[in-house]
């Protein structure tokens, strides 16, 4: 029996179950293995042959297809942990990661919760209580209020007067959630009703709660967020900022660290505000305090994400700190072991979110089988992927396939590395946003570091695209492929090529869980 890393920690654990799927489950399961911990994955019917199942020591099937039966089913997840001998649960992001009742249930089941205290989750998860707490702690907030419609009252009247108090333009948000779902902009009163109804419907569908929060929309602002780390011994530090200003309908597209708009003085001020925000809720673990940064360098608290973020790798690349490992250590009750002065910035990192979506058709999610999936390699290139070659992309889940992260000594060098790496990322069989990502990253507005959060939504996306290839050449290549019988070669090549990335070369059993139509 080998001794695990946290055997003698205040809250010891040795086997982590990840209550999630996709790239983040893969990321955390690998981190667990690297830390010398056991790893347990969970999977729904649709995920039986997904990558995260393969990288874990053990995988537990949670029967069902809907999210409510599987990744949102806290009872089934906890019993999966108990039955598999896991003694800690990491929730990843999304799903149950920001549900305080889940955090409570995990602890009540005698398991270690790899996340912040339930009280911090619930305070920050509720936009109203978060605002109140921030105002009390002296952190500046954006004007806004939650829409409370008394039973039987006319919601339009309440809505209109609330909108007038907050002031146009408005941003309607789901009180219960984030990630762009249930979020709508309203620039003039006549659109208020339709946008409110759409936002409320999306909020109900995504979070089971249609309550809407009405906020004043700051235009021409940047989205700058600060990563914080806190332990259970009273230490709290920040790991600098990430700039996620390049967004489309409030979904982040490219994220980078450091922010081109933040100098060291502003970094210190925002970092201090983020630490204050975290301490105000007794935070522990890794968390992110999101701010809107105005063109005059004023910053306003947006919300705190009490979990690991999708874009956490850019912080890891520029600080050299493994955030998932830190989450494990803090959960085990160990001190951070680093102080604010230890945190530096090394070079520049950019993350591009690779989605199965069609930029030319309103970014509609796309489905299909990834008959070719080759990821770029080289110094300063990291790919956090949730898929392999041969996998089928379905509508069951979020269409994010992978994250491509580059790291280089300077921002211009990182931009060049990003472009090269994106051009070497090959996805055939499913339409992706890879070409769009290249176009946007090369756009002078992004290259000069001057985009604000409204840039993509107010630009004509089709005008971004680079000149098309010569159709005659493409037709000749297709015709030659057909003539040379590449279709047979390509499907026979699946197995060989996918093994390259899974490290299961030559294992005949690998094919048993895969489909090769």
């Amino acid at each position: 029996m080998t001794v695990g890393p946290f055997e003698s920690a205040p809250r010891p654990f040795s086997r982590v179950m990840v209550a999630n799927r996709g790239e983040i489950a893969v990321r955390i399961l690998k981190a667990a293995r690297e830390a010398g911990l056991g790893s347990v994955a969970v999977f729904s019917d649709a995920d039986a042959s997904s990558l995260h199942v393969e990288v874990a020591d053990e995988a537990v099937h949670i029967p069902g297809e809907s999210l409510a039966e599987t990744y949102l089913n806290s009872e089934a997840l906890i019993s999966a942990a108990l039955s598999s001998g896991a003694d800690a649960i990491h929730p990843g992001y999304g799903f149950l990661s920001e549900r305080s009742d889940f955090a409570v249930a995990v602890v009540e089941a005698g398991l270690v919760w790899i996340g912040p205290p339930a009280e911090a989750i619930s305070t920050m998860g509720d936009k109203i209580s978060a605002r109140v707490r921030m105002i009390e702690s002296g952190v500046q907030v954006i004007p806004g209020e939650e829409l409370t419609v008394p039973d039987g009252a006319d919601h339009l009247g309440v809505l209109a007067s609330c909108a007038a108090r907050v002031g146009y333009p408005l941003l309607l948000k789901a009180s219960a959630g984030g990630g762009g779902k249930g979020m709508r902009e309203v620039r003039e009163p006549k659109l208020l009703r339709t946008e409110y109804e759409a936002a409320s419907r999306e909020a109900s569908a995504a979070f089971g709660d249609g309550t809407i929060y009405v906020e004043h929309l700051l235009t021409g602002a940047r989205h700058v967020e600060v990563q914080i780390l806190a332990d259970s011994h009273g230490s709290c530090i920040h790991l600098n900022e990430r700039d996620c200003s390049l967004q489309r309908r409030h979904q982040k597209v490219l994220e980078e660290a450091p922010s081109p708009a933040v100098d060291s003085e502003l970094r210190q001020a925002m970092g201090a505000a983020a630490v204050k925000a975290a301490q105000a809720v007794g935070y522990e673990g890794a968390g992110t305090v999101e701010f809107l940064l105005s063109s005059s360098d004023d910053f306003y608290f947006l919300e705190m994400n009490t979990r690991l973020q999708v874009e956490h790798p850019v912080t890891e690349m520029t600080t050299g700190i493994d955030l998932v490992l830190k989450q494990f250590e803090v959960a085990a009750g160990l001190p951070l072991g680093i102080v604010q002065d230890d945190i530096g910035i090394s070079g520049h990192a950019i993350e591009a979110r690779v989605y199965a979506e069609d930029a030319a058709r309103g970014f509609l999610p796309c489905v299909g089988r990834l008959s070719t999936w080759k990821i770029p390699q080289g110094p300063g290139i990291r790919v956090d992927s949730g898929v392999r070659q041969g996998d089928t992309v379905t509508i069951d889940f979020d269409p994010m396939l992978a994250k491509l992260i580059v790291h280089a000594p300077s921002r211009p060098a990182a931009l060049r590395r990003l472009d090269t790496a994106l051009s070497d990322l090959i996805a055939l069989g499913v339409t992706t946003n890879i070409d769009f990502l290249r176009d946007v990253a090369a756009h002078h507005a992004f290259a000069s570091g001057s985009v604000t959060t409204d840039f993509l939504d107010s630009s004509d996306v089709s005008a971004l695209s680079m000149p098309e290839a010569d159709p005659a050449v493409l037709v000749a290549v297709a015709c030659a492929s057909q003539r040379l019988g590449l279709e047979r070669a390509a499907s026979a090549g699946d197995l060989e090529a996918s093994d390259e990335h899974t490290g299961h070369s030559g294992d005949p059993f690998r094919t048993l869980t895969r489909s090769f139509p």
């Binding site: 509508i395 069989g429 070409d435 037709v475 015709c479 040379l484 070669a489 090529a497």
Partner: protein, 166 residues
């Protein structure tokens, strides 16, 4: 066999000459008229699913994969799709001017009526798919000649939702 670049216009026919696995284009027609064939030679690369493509003397590597009637091509850092057609076949089954569901989902809202005139880009209906709302917009101006579904209906990918006539 005829070929078209998806999202592009026109049908190509291609004459290929094969010299020991090194292919070149001897003739090319676009919509029935001869066009200059590209100065190109193509052969298998060492790895499966890859081609060596030499265009006017410069060499490129292409990754290709066939899905249905489509050849997916990755070359020079960009992804393209070229579709194969039976010679003389008409434009797929897609209804002229019809708007089809881009993916499986549910109809949330229908914003137009049969007989209504719409402008290009006008939102016709709203669908929910993958927990997000998507607006289906008119590809061109015209009159709504048919609405195939009602609010709440589940639709499969590719089903025609609306037809627009002149």
């Amino acid at each position: 066999m005829e070929w078209s670049v998806v999202e592009g216009t026109g049908r190509y026919t291609v004459g290929v000459s094969d010299s020991d696995g090194l292919l070149s284009v001897s003739s090319m027609q676009l919509d029935g008229s001869s066009v200059n064939p590209p100065d190109i030679s193509i052969s298998r690369a060492d790895q499966t699913g890859q081609l060596k493509v030499e265009i006017s003397g410069a060499s490129h590597l292409a990754h290709v994969a066939k899905v249905g009637d489509d050849w997916w091509i990755h070359m020079d850092g960009r992804t393209h799709v070229v579709r194969m057609h039976e010679s003389g076949s008409s434009e797929a089954e897609s209804v002229q001017g019809g708007m089809s569901a881009p993916m499986p989902g549910t109809i949330l809202e229908i914003l137009v009526k049969q007989g209504q005139r719409v402008r290009e880009g006008q939102t016709l209906l709203v669908m929910e798919a993958m927990k997000m709302e998507h607006r289906i917009q008119a590809p061109r101006a015209g009159e709504v000649t048919r609405l195939h579904y009602s609010v709440g209906d589940r639709v499969d990918m590719g089903t025609t939702l609306v037809e627009i006539g002149d």
